[in-house]
């Protein structure tokens, strides 16, 4: 199914933000915003929900904590008890203090790498992936708003354009994508 897409390009993040506010209040759904840096406050306007990656990081951290604990319990207490200088360390509790550094490091290792991998997968930013920004200038100093007609039933492209007219865009482009 072919779809008509309108790209409105802005030269300033604040101008785009106020333009987006106006469009949304008129019932337009903004499909995407491309920007060279994070625009603070754009997410609630265009309906981007907060990410739950933080919770994921916590879970990965817990996994690391559990792995480190069970690992050291198995290596040092179950499989091969070490008699170091005749000191009693044959139970996990007696040995726990010595295990804290590795437990901590392994927790951080799993949380950080788990979250980083999840982040790259969610974004689909992986080596060799093609860039999807509509204009190369959006990674430099331009900000682009993408509006899809298929998501805005009841609006024609001319109506959208007239709404965009005095939002202060610098360029407007219409594209038909298959």
């Amino acid at each position: 199914m072919s779809d008509k897409v309108i790209y409105a390009m802005y030269g300033d993040d604040e101008v785009l933000k106020s333009g987006a506010k106006k469009l949304v209040s008129n019932g337009i759904k903004i499909a995407e915003v491309y920007s060279p840096f994070p625009i603070h406050g754009i997410d609630p306007i265009i309906g981007v929900k907060g990410t739950r990656l933080g919770i994921m990081a916590f879970l990965y951290g817990l996994t690391g904590l559990a792995l480190a604990t069970f690992g050291m319990y198995y290596f040092m207490v179950v499989e091969w008890k070490m008699n170091i200088g005749g000191k009693p360390n044959f139970t996990y509790a007696e040995n726990m203090l010595a295990f804290i550094p590795v437990t901590f490091e392994f927790t951080v290792l799993c949380a950080a790498h788990g979250m980083a991998i999840k982040y790259l997968l969610l974004n689909r930013t992986l080596p060799g992936m093609p860039a999807q920004n509509p204009d190369p200038r959006t990674t430099d100093d331009k900000f682009v708003m993408e509006i899809r007609l298929s998501e805005n039933h009841g609006f024609t492209d001319d109506q959208v354009e007239s709404l965009l007219k005095d939002t202060g865009f610098v360029e407007l482009e219409k594209k038909i994508i298959e």
């Binding site: 994070p38 997410d43 040092m76 091969w80 590795v102 860039a131 430099d140």
Partner: protein, 462 residues
């Protein structure tokens, strides 16, 4: 938009636009490298290759080629290891701790400081690995199932904690650094004209497109990684200090070591950042982004951490007397007045006196003076580790075993070689990577840029 007090010095000088930021950072990458770059790169590479050659000789012959002996089992190797790990502390401190404290001046320096961190930790890791003598069995430090039966590594040993600490620190720093680099690689990719560089930067940028949802995740990931990296900064050097503190050698067996080592690490790390950035800002025309104010902030960090280090030195001396343990007291008396007095007093001069000069505003804002002090601190911190390691063990309980450490030429070559390799990596980084977190810098342009601060409507909103 966040605003800051108008009387604060702007962080970005001149009348820069978003596009100017992109231009200023990308131009050195796109232009041909200056002749000076080739000269420095060649020198660094030759020294680095000499170091690699020396390492190969060491591996082929055995660590007897170092100047170690029966009394002094650790000397330059571990000194260099601790020195490099210490230097590697500034980068993550800048990008993680300062992110949590919302210090915006970090944005101009975090990228290169973190690159420095990663290369410094590479160099640090070399020393324990080659100290094994048999590099090819280096993987035995990991708890892997093996054919020796139920033989595992000893999780009670601080040396094993070190393995986990250093590898976690290195890999987490690397990931943190790279996640920040992705959007900036995308900027270079979208500007690249030559097909080869376009292809290279497309691969490096992972197809980043700057979508709103991606930026939303980006900011959270940066924050959480900063939160995770912050305790790492403190834990890594604490664990390095446990290598000494958990032993029973007089001079090493001190509870003050963890905080003292962490402060010393930040101290030496910032000194190295100053050394590198003062040259880089000039060579790459980044004076508008890394200017006197940034240097002053870093000098204040050097002053504070240097004072902590100085206090620790004096506390150590006091406790050695107060403890009433004669071996402990002798270890410190021997440091100050024994055959290694020169190392002790160079450490004291470089690390205790020189940071105190930073109380004077004129001096801490002088770039030339800062450069000089940064070198002095780097030397002083090397001597600190040398003093701690060598002077504590060179005279042990039996006078018949007393000895001196004289570095062999392999000791010196391996050390210089790591410096050469470090600069080789750093020069490559400066040539092909965006040395400034350019897209992050754009976020503070309106809040802390000079032209916006001077504009009449700066105070109107909010």
């Amino acid at each position: 938009m966040q605003k800051e007090a108008a009387i604060r010095e702007p962080l970005i000088l001149g009348h820069k636009t978003f596009h100017d930021v992109t231009e200023d950072v990308c131009r050195p990458i796109e232009d041909k490298a200056p002749k000076m770059w080739y000269i420095l790169f060649t020198i660094a590479l030759i020294i680095g290759l000499y170091g690699i050659g020396s390492i190969c000789y060491l591996l082929g012959t055995g660590i007897g080629v170092w100047g170690l002996n029966k009394t002094i089992g650790w000397a330059w190797d571990i000194t260099n290891f601790v020195w490099w790990v210490g230097i590697g502390h500034a980068g993550t401190l800048i990008s993680a701790v300062l992110l949590l404290f919302r210090q915006k001046w970090r944005m101009a320096i975090n990228r290169s400081a973190e690159a420095m961190t990663i290369f410094a930790v590479f160099m640090a890791g070399t020393f324990p690995l080659i100290h094994m003598g048999r590099l090819w069995v280096g993987y035995w430090v990991l708890p892997l199932p093996n054919h020796f039966g139920s033989l595992w590594v000893n999780f009670n040993s601080p040396l094993l904690w070190d393995v986990f600490a250093i590898s976690t620190y290195l890999s987490v720093s690397l990931v943190f650094w790279y996640i920040g680099l992705i959007p900036d690689f995308a900027t270079i990719r979208d500007r690249a004209k030559k097909p080869v560089s376009k292809k290279m930067y497309s691969i490096l940028s992972f197809g980043w497109s700057g979508k709103a949802k991606h930026w939303n995740r980006f900011e959270l990931v940066s924050l959480v990684l900063a939160g995770l990296a912050t305790p790492l900064v403190f834990s890594v050097h604490s664990i390095v200090s446990f290598d000494f503190a958990t032993s029973i050698v007089p001079g090493w067996h001190t509870t003050i070591f963890p905080p003292y080592f962490v402060a010393g690490a930040v101290f030496s790390g910032f000194a190295m950042v100053q050394t590198l950035l003062l040259v880089m800002r000039k060579a790459m025309n980044l004076e508008a982004y890394i200017h006197t104010k940034h240097v002053e902030y870093m000098n204040i960090v050097i002053m504070v951490t240097g004072s902590i280090v100085g206090t620790a030195y004096i506390t150590e001396l006091f406790i050695s007397w107060y403890s009433g343990v004669e071996y402990e007291a002798y270890a410190f008396l021997n440091r100050a007045t024994g055959p290694y007095w020169w190392a002790y007093w160079s450490m004291m001069t470089c690390n205790v006196i020189s940071p105190q000069l930073m109380w004077i505003r004129k001096l801490r804002r002088s770039l030339l003076f800062t450069f000089f002090i940064s070198i002095v601190v780097n030397i002083g911190m090397w001597f600190e580790r040398y003093v701690i390691i060598v002077t504590s063990i060179h005279r042990d309980y039996l006078p018949s075993a007393w000895s001196m450490h004289y570095p062999s030429h392999i000791d010196i070559a391996v050390y210089l070689g790591t410096i050469g390799l470090f600069f080789t990596f750093f020069l490559l980084f400066a040539r092909y990577f965006p040395v400034l977190a350019l897209n992050e810098v754009k976020t503070i342009l309106k809040g802390s840029g000079q032209s916006y601060k001077e504009s009449p409507d700066y105070h109107k909103h909010h």
